[in-house]
Symmetry: C2
Subunit: 262 residues, 2 copies
């Protein structure tokens, strides 16, 4: 039996400037990307979003052809689609928002169609915690709920966001958002982690005297394990207090965490 995937979020226009090209008013939005990517895995995708009459009908049709259901898409005939414009810096890691026109998104308050309420897998895009909570309340038999959010909601609606989080299973947030949410910071992230990585990496290569790519990957794991000790205390505190057993135990934890079988 094919499982169902409910996705709730934005369908949008983006305008993206980079030092290497400018994409003018292209199709964007979390729901759009999520639906397209997921369409290669399942054909029961239930999209929930809102657009204006300016959104190309052909784009909707292309998604429908991939098995994306549109019962949950509201088209506001006299409205305009959510629009975001941004400019990326030289390093492509930072960006400035140039324009955000919420447009029809301002009125987004999704009531799930009856055909959606039994969805098993649910991806709640980055929306107001209120909307996220309201969606979870309409689900009759969820198996896994994943929630995306961002620092903006932590700044202005932390209590409500925490309530939303209490109703879900998985968060997709980055490291900075995780720190803001939890209030937990690394005790110390002193200088030296990179150098400690290099020391572990080189030490392992020196020990094994094997510079094949396969052994370099192992050296990366040992270097990472050593760096993970470094950041537990200021300065050399932890580095002076290790032994083979402690190191191998950490390496094994790393192996367990990262190993997978496809």
């Amino acid at each position: 039996m094919t499982m169902s995937l409910l996705t709730v979020g934005t369908v949008a226009f983006d305008d993206i400037q980079t030092p290497y090209g400018h994409a003018e008013k292209v199709i964007g939005g979390a729901c759009t990307y999520i639906s397209w990517a997921a369409s290669y895995f399942t054909d029961d995708i239930r999209l929930t979003s809102i657009v204006g009459a300016d959104f190309p009908k052909d784009e909707i049709a292309q998604m429908e052809a991939r098995g994306v259901k549109m019962d949950g898409l509201t088209v506001v005939e006299d409205g305009k689609t959510f629009f975001w414009a941004g400019k990326y810096h030289e390093n492509m890691n930072q960006r400035d928002t140039l324009q955000t026109d919420l447009n029809v998104l301002d009125d987004f308050n999704p009531e799930l169609p009856a055909s959606y309420t039994d969805s098993k897998y649910i991806m709640l895009g980055n929306l107001t915690p209120d909307i996220q909570i309201r969606v979870t309340e309409q689900l009759t038999a969820p198996k896994l709920i994943v929630l995306d959010t961002m620092n903006f909601w932590m700044d202005i609606a932390m209590d409500r966001l925490k309530e939303a989080i209490s109703k879900v299973d998985v968060l997709t947030i980055n490291d900075e958002e995780a720190r803001q949410l939890s209030g937990e910071y690394s005790l110390v992230k002193a200088t030296g982690a990179g150098d400690t990585f290099a020391g572990g990496f080189m030490g392992y290569l020196t020990k094994t005297d094997d510079i094949t790519f396969e052994n370099m990957k192992r050296a990366v794991v040992y270097g990472s394990a050593m760096a993970s000790f470094c950041v537990e205390e200021f300065s050399l505190g932890k580095m002076k207090d290790l032994d083979d057993e402690i190191i191998n135990s950490r390496v094994n934890e790393f192996v367990q965490l990262t190993s997978f079988n496809i």
Copy 2:
């Protein structure tokens, strides 16, 4: 036979302020961290650095007790040790340099002791490209040379740095440094990569209907593969042009790249 590891770089004092603690004038320096970390793997470490008379003799003795040779350590009796002071931001990812006193490091121009020149594994810490080149020229039988550097040297001595790089096997630089060095940027890193990850992650879970931790790790791999397609073109360009074979091929590349056996 135990292989030899030569490490060339700083031995220093650090002063590190964080929102969660202040380490006042503690032991730091790339050579120090590298040597300590590597000492758990090999006992033929050859340190090359420079300090002032203010550097604690006990710290040197502790490293020697771990097998770190000090023939290449210059102690300047009327000099002061390199000192760096910095303050980390709330997010612990960014930091401001408050003070950099090069002190004796200003005169660092290492002549390798005769006992060092046959070193097999060489870790060149973040120093001027001139020093890095000079060290490589003194080596008689290197097996693997690793070089660390930073954007500062790219800004002021790019040609000389590239010459240094031409003499080594491995670089330890971060993503931003790699971009500056190569002049190569991702063609496009548009919005949508995170959402595409979420779509692949959720799509795979929906398809397999298995929410064990083991299967979530597989879903992370599929999500990453889908995101790697997303950033190849602006907007949905690439996302509309995939099939199972292309996706599985990318997943297999990911498996090959990341798999290792300890």
